[in-house]
Every structure is written in C-alpha cells, then in structure tokens.
Amino acid sequence: MARSSLTSDQAGAAWLGLLALSLVAFPWYKGAGLLAGPSASALVEAMTGRGWFWPLIAITIAMGGAALTRRWQQSSLVLGLAIAGLLLFLWQGFAVGLRGPSADWVGSLFARAADGQSGLGWGGFLAGIALIGLLSDLAAARGFCRGERFAAFCITAIVALLTVFVFFPILSLGLAAFIDPDGSLALAVFWERLSASELWGIGCLIGSGRCGVVVNTVILGVLSATLATALGLALALLVSRTDFRMKRALRAISILPIITPPFVVGVAIILLFGRTGLVTGGVADLMGVRPSRWVYGLPGILIAQVLAFAPVTFLVLLSTLEAINPTLEEAARTLGAKATTTFRTVTWPLLRPGLAAAFLLAFIESLADFGNPIVLGGGYEVLSVKIFFAVVGARYDLGNAATLAMILLALTLIAFWLQMRWMGNKSYVTVTGKSDAGLAAPLPPILKVAVLAVVLPWVVFTLGVYIIIAAGGFVTDIGRWDLTPTLGHLVTAFRFEFAETGLELYGSAWDSMITTLWVAGIAAPLTTLVGILTAWLVARQDFTGRRAFEFGTMLSFAIPGTVVGVSYVAAFNVPPVDITGTAAILIICFVFRNMPVGMRAGLAALAQIDKSMEEASQTMGAGGATTLRRVVLPLIRPAVFTALVYSFVTAMTAVSAVIFLVSARHNMATAYIMGRVEAGEYALAIAYSAVLMIVMILCVVVIQLLVGTRKLGRRQELQGRGPATEPAE
C-alpha cells in the first residue's frame, strides 16, 4: 500500500521538539502560568540544584542527536532511549516528594531534594505528552497498528491516560491500605482493620446485636436487587405481553429517575413516610397507632433504591422479552399447553439470563449507591457511607477508607465476574434469521392481575414522589407541611442584582451551578471523544493486546464511584500529579468513569456498519484520522448522541465520586444539595433539584439540535427530483 506520507520523519521530530521545548521553555512545576517563561523550566531548575532533571535532559539531547541520522525512527537505540526517557520522567516525579526525597540515596545525591518539589505544571505535563507521542510514533514506525500512526498514537495515549487516571489511583489506594502515612509497611494494622467485627458481625441475623457494615451492604444489595428485578419484570411483562394502554407513559415515567438528582428522592420519601409523613400520619390515624420512624434504615433505603433501579432492570428485561421468539410460545400453545404452563415452561426459562443480568446490575448499583443511604440510613451503616465519613468526617483516616474501599471493590468485581460467567455459558438465542413470524403469547390472566397489582402502586408512588419534588421547592416549608406558595427558596439559591459593576450573583447556589455546567459541558464532549475513539480502535484496528485493552477500559466502569473518589484523593493529593481542589480533577473523573458507556454505544453502532466504506476511504488515500472524521463519525451519530447525553446527565447528577473531589472553589450541584439536605433545608434542596432537572432537559434538547440525526442515503432528495433515478428497493 502506498503510505509514503506516513513514513515521513516529521511527526517523530515534532514530538521530540515538543519534549525539548517542555524542558527549556515552560515552567516545570504547577502554580506558574504557561507564559511564565523559561526561568522556571526544568533546565533552569536543574542548573540551580535540582539535579534529578539531568538524566532526562541528557536523554533528550541524545535522541536529538540520533534524529539527525537517516531512518532514526526504526532504530532500536532510539526506542530504548525513549523508553528510558519515560522511566526517568516518572522517576523524577516520584523520587522527590512535597517535603523531601522519598529515598535516602536521592537525598544524599541532591542536596536540594530536601526542599521537596511540588506537582507537575505546564512543562511537566507537556513533557509527558511528548514522550507518549514519541513512543507511539516509534512503535508505529516499527509496524505497530500496521504502521498507522494516528491509531498508534490514540492507543498509546488512551493506555497512558487509563494508567494515570484509573490504575495508578487504584494502586495508590491499595498502598494507602497497607502502608502507614510515614512509609512503613503496616500489615498488622491492615489485618486489624480488615477483620474488625464492625465489618463482618452477623449479630442482626442471629438476633443479637447489630450486623457489620459489610454484611449490611450485602443484605441491602440482595434485597434491593431482588425487589428491583421483580418490579422490572412486572413492568416489562406489562409492556410487552399485554394490551395495557399507557405503555408510552410508563416508559416516560421510568426514565425520570435517571435525570433526578440524588438525595431528593430520599427527601421525598421522608416527607411521605417519615414520622410526620403524609402516608405514615394517615395510616397511623386510621389504625389508631403512634406514628413511628420505621422508614429510617433498611426499609427507607430499600424503597428509594427499588424506585431508582427498577427502570434499569425494566429495560434489560424488556429487551430479553422482546428477543424471545414468539414461535416457541405459539408452538407450546398449539401442542395444548395452558397459558400458565406455557409461561412456566417456555417463557420463564428463556427469561433467566435476563433476570440474572438485571439482578446483578441492580446489586452493583446498590453497592455503589451513596445518596439514598446517607439520607435514609438512620443507624443502618453501609460501606459507601462509612468510606465517606472516613475521608470527609471528623475522624480522617485514609488507611481505613482505603481498606473499606478495597472490600467494596472486591464485592463489585465478584458481582461482575458472576454476571460474565452466567451470561457466557449457555445459549439462549431464539431469534434467528429464519423466521420470526408469530405473536407473543399474552400473559396468563392470573399473572396479569399480579403484574398490575405490583405496577399500579408503583405508578402511584412514583407520581407521589415527583409531585413532592415539583411542588416542594415552591412552598414555605414542606417539612412542616406549611404549603403557602413562595419563591423564597428560589431567591435564596439564585438571587442576582444589576449593580454598577454589572451583574452580581448573590444567590448561594450560583457557584455550584456554574461550576457544574462548566464541568459537565467540558466533560461530556471529552468523554464522548475518548469513548468513541476507543470503540473505533477496538472494532476497526488490529493491534497486539486488543483484548487486554478492551478489558482495561471496561474495568474503570466496574469501580464504584466511592472507590474512585477515595482513590483520587489517595493518588492526586500529592506530587507529581497534584490536582485535587481543581476543576480538572472533576472533569477527568467524569471522563474516565463514563467513557465505557460511550465506548459501548460506539461498538454497537460500528457493528452495524460495514467496514467496506472505511476501506474504500483508505484505498482512496485518506488516513485513519480523516476516515474517522469524514466517514465513521457521520454514520454513528446516534452513538455520539447517546454518549454525549449520558455523560452530560451523569456529570450533573453523579455524587459518589464527586463528594470527595469538590472544594470551596469548585463545588458541584450535588454536593451542595447534600449539604442542604443534611442541614434539613429540604425546600431549598428540592427547589435546586427542580431547577437542575429543567436545565438538564434543556441541555439534552440543545445536544439533540447540535448533533442531529443520521442521514443515510439521498433517497428522498432523489425522489423529489423525478422518477429518472428511482432507487432500487
């Protein structure tokens, strides 16, 4: 193939140039602006005593020398130098910490190491990027990705990013669990924490005392997943197997929890079922008993979680039901089976993989859930909340938080592994190309009654919750049922004035609202970019280690948010990558948490598009980047839309990782809402949430307008012109 342009030496030289620039022209450490000039660059720092930069500088010079020779990119020597450069780059970052050298020999070699060094700044990050770029270029020159430089760069860059922002934090977390803050190995402490009876106690099961927090978490997860799966199944059966009229409305209602900010559902449940709640009060009056606080603890969390997870299980089970070939059920009926027998012996067994998938999905969500337990938990402790208080609470103990986070991660990974195993073993494929004629068997009457008995209360309950969310922010005090309409809470949150100096924002919610919009607005396109790019690499590029690459990207999805939050605190609170308290850490966190969803959407869309169009584009001389931009992207617009909307909405409503990463300067809406709920300012929290939901819907509409839909072919256009070019059907 003619790929003369790809073997040119320019790209490698450009990366090398960037590396040199980053060492001499930009400030190496954080805190100084990009244009602060070379006075704070690595070269100057090295000359003023920070000698640990010299090896990296020397290697850069050596590579510069090698680049003057012909075909230097194919040379093994240069590749070795580049790898050594990367290692030295990492070494200079970790050898000297904030307060001094991390090893004695470093200290004795360089006197100034005693002063310590701060986190990487412009120069440092540019040097890292340049080294990654250079390495990818050298690899491509040696045949990686069949010499396709763009793909090679993307793969290397994504692997590097995943390493820094997914694996490195988890590694730091593991270290924090085993190692004391002073650097000594603390296995005994770790074991003591791990085996504590407050984690594993089963007192509540055998009727004496209380259960450990791990046991609590698992009990909650199992109950919540069982109930959510049952409810999801009822909904799915109602939609796909009956003539129920309001199917569209049902689907719409089930979408609501996805755009609902956390905490407000918990608050609404307190307002309905708390001791002074509407329902509790009514029932107590009716039965003549004293209203109780029954909702705080397991029951309350269960209600909230089932409400939140049922839509997910519903969607999973609906697609399973729709994938069951109706002819099987028809055959059973023709052979004389009753409706109930058909359901029991044909439909149900085919549903089992869907049920398992839905159950495990809800179980994993329940493990990761933070918002509902913290509002409704009362004395019922679960892991996510316990981790939060070990980091943010008055007893700051990162080691303990790390140990708990490892347990939570282990539980989640076991659940994922079970799901993979279960789904991988048997064949449940019933829809084939041959025939899908026939009608799905209607639900047996007795089941239909049962399904309605489950679904109707759920509809009423959901409506109740959302009526409170819609109204609660606009009355004086919904907590005391003082229902005088007011805009006071909205004013508290979003007051502004036009002063002489211009627009002054005095409302207390502005800071968090603006930050949230910025962060979500930046994170969403980046997430989509990384996700779609990854999907394209996995689906369309052929390279060594593709399976491992795919698995690595999915892993970041499996890690619960709370664990991500703690691991970021453990990894990024100190140099070399010292970025806590910035907006960047929030954006990065969202990008790597949500990227797998964009990737899944991208993979699904790419599977539907034949490779031949891309091959045509490449045959005609377009490179990888051009093909991706001009051919692939326009064809997978729906996937881009899904990824954008998902990452935007999640960035606006996510809480479990975010609460560890917000700061006074960069506060997020969900963290603000949590503070209001904690202080009992329910009305303010609800008002803010309502505004947030409206903003989200508006933004989704804007995204829809920007991305548009896929336009395939020109058939309509041609038909309009006349019959001459009638398309072949």
Binding site: A11, W15, A32, I270, S292, G379, A664
Partner: protein, 340 residues
C-alpha cells in the same frame, strides 16, 4: 495533517492543564464556615459587598472542618475558619494548624472571648457564646415536659431523642465534655449509655436534631439553646429548655488557617468579623447566639447566659488534643458500638 494532529493533541492537553493551574490569586477568600448555612451565606455576602473580595464558602460541622484542615495541612486551601464550637479551634491552635493574630479589635471583646484568645496563644478568638440545652416538640410532648438531663432517660422518650455524633459535631462534643464535668467521667458514660436507649439517631450536624424535632421526626433534640430558639422564632412548636442540673456552654470561635492562600484577605475578614455590624448579621438570620463584641446588640430572643445554671467549663482542658481524642475514643468504644 500530522501537524494538525499534533497541535490538536497539544490543545487538548493544554485545556486540561489550564483548568488545573487556573488558580488565580485575585481578591478572594476561602472561608470554612461552621455555623448555620443561612448565617454563613449572609456573612459571605455582606463581606463581599463591604470589601469587594469574593468569598468562596463551604459549610461543614466544626469537627469535620477540623479534620479537613488537618488533612490539608501540607497544602492549606482555606483562609479563615469562622464559627463552630471552641474546642476543635483550640485543638487546631495547639497543633499549629492555625495562625497567631492579635487583632486590634480584641479590646472591644467580652471577657470570655479574650480568655479564649489567651488560652490559644492568640490563635483563635471567641465570636459568640451560647448555652447547651435541649428542645422538645410541644405537639408531641404535651404533658410533664422534660426539664432536666435526667428526664431524658424516661421510657416514654424511647427512640425519640436525637443528638449529633460527637466525632463530627462540636455541639455533641460539648455535651460529652459537659456531662463529664457535671457528673464525673464514669457516671457521665453511664448516663450516655442509658440515654442511648432513647436515641433514634446520631446525626452528623450538631443542629440537625432540633430541625428533626421541629418537623416532628423526633420529640427531643439535644442542641445549643440558641438553635432551639431559632426554630421557635421560625414558628415551629419547639420549647427550649435549660437543664435544671446545670449545663455547659460554647465559645464559638474564629481562626486564621496557617499558610492559607490569601493571608491579607484573611486578616481583613478577621477584623471585620469582630465588628458590631458584622456580628449583628446573625440575629437577622435566625441565629441567636450572644455576640462577643461588647458593643454588639444581643438579640432579643437569645437565651441569656445569666438565666442558665452554668458549670465552670474548663475550655483549656477539654479543648486539648489529648483529652478530646481520649474522650472521643472512649465514646466510640462505650457508646458508639452499642446495638441500636
């Protein structure tokens, strides 16, 4: 095309780094606030109007703020810690987390405020005072209302009393220290263990219990009396009680965080926060503590210290790091681990 690709990569990277290092050091103040959110907001806004310095405020319980400042001590991100009970402020002072500053305003302060400053070597100062007590919901408790600490052990209040967790809340730590001083340490823990049977929930925030009592989620909340009064003023059926056996009190404090990013703005805020004008903002925002400036007007509704049987609270001892840590550890072992 290659150059385009490279420049695109650089721009993308630059975007991320820019967001990272955009730490503009303009007129700003990072305020860690530990009183009611409403009051925090009003203070931030008033200071912003007065000086044009933009205030970035976070509200957290005093125990949580203390932990945050300790965790950030390598690279402090906050400037001023304003409000919250005095004990964690004293502990922070003892550990050198806060900075010494003798404001000219000190001569206008009440005795208890100056005493707080002297105890800490001028690393903190008293900004308000208030007595500890409890409040009950008069819709739920109609007859024979509780008047003493001992009354809270009554069986009829089973699962109906709330207090914060002393680990997170200064209010609750004040209660713990008060009980120890009032009854003796072992007796105090006996009392708390008995009280545990009536406690429905240990909240994170010190004033959350009275908010729960105001909405009727619980009958009694153990809080500072001014927090109970604030609910009454807002129309909730809450009656504030000064316990008959006597009770402790807090000296709400303010400290400058050592090594904070905006030291000048921090001192400006410090001086301003001790003026009568700044201190009177509390009363306008449903906070009825007694202000520390002798010229500040004490809000009408504020429970006067003269009307309460006060113990001689030993702030130096119970604000010390060792004593606080020891008592909290004993609380965790003796009370926190009891079955619900």
């Amino acid at each position: 095309m290659k150059t385009k690709l490279v420049s695109a990569a650089i721009i993308a990277a630059a975007g991320v780094t820019a967001a990272g290092s955009a730490a503009a050091q303009s007129d700003e103040l990072v305020l860690y606030c530990s009183v009611q959110e409403e009051w925090c907001r009003a203070m931030s806004e008033a200071f912003q109007r007065e000086t044009g310095i933009n205030v970035l405020m976070t509200r957290r319980s005093s125990g949580e703020t203390y932990a945050q400042i300790a965790a950030e001590s390598e690279q402090p991100r906050g400037d001023v810690w304003w409000g919250g009970t005095g004990d964690p402020h004293l502990q922070a002072a003892q550990e050198g987390l806060t900075e010494e500053y003798q404001s000219e305003m000190l001569e206008q302060m009440q005795d208890w405020s100056v005493r707080q400053a002297e105890t800490s070597g001028y690393r903190t100062v008293g900004i308000y005072a208030g007595g500890l007590g409890f409040g009950y919901n008069s819709d739920l408790v109609t007859e024979n209302p509780p008047a003493c600490w001992a009354d809270l052990l009554d069986e009829r209040f089973a699962d109906d009393v709330q207090v914060a967790n002393p680990n997170s809340s200064g209010t609750s730590y004040t209660m713990l220290a008060t009980m120890v001083q009032l009854m003796g340490e072992d007796e105090a823990f006996d009392y708390l263990a008995q009280l545990h049977n009536n406690i429905s929930q240990y909240t994170q925030s010190g004033s959350a219990p009275i908010r729960a009592a105001a909405t009727g989620e619980t009958a009694i909340g153990i809080v500072f009396m001014h927090d109970a009064v604030a609910q009454t003023v807002q129309g909730a059926p809450i009656v504030a009680v000064a316990p008959c056996e006597g009770t402790g009190y807090e000296v709400g404090s303010m400290s400058i965080i050592a090594g904070g990013p905006n030291p000048d703005a921090a001192r400006t805020f410090y001086d301003w926060a001790l003026t009568p004008e700044a201190q009177e903002i509390g009363a306008a925002n449903n906070s009825f503590q007694i202000p520390s400036n002798v010229n500040s007007e004490t809000p009408e509704a504020a429970p006067r210290l003269e009307d309460i049987t006060l113990i001689d609270y030993d702030f130096a001892l119970y604000g010390s790091s060792e004593e606080r840590t020891r008592l909290l550890e004993r609380w965790d072992a003796d009370i926190g681990s009891l079955p619900q």
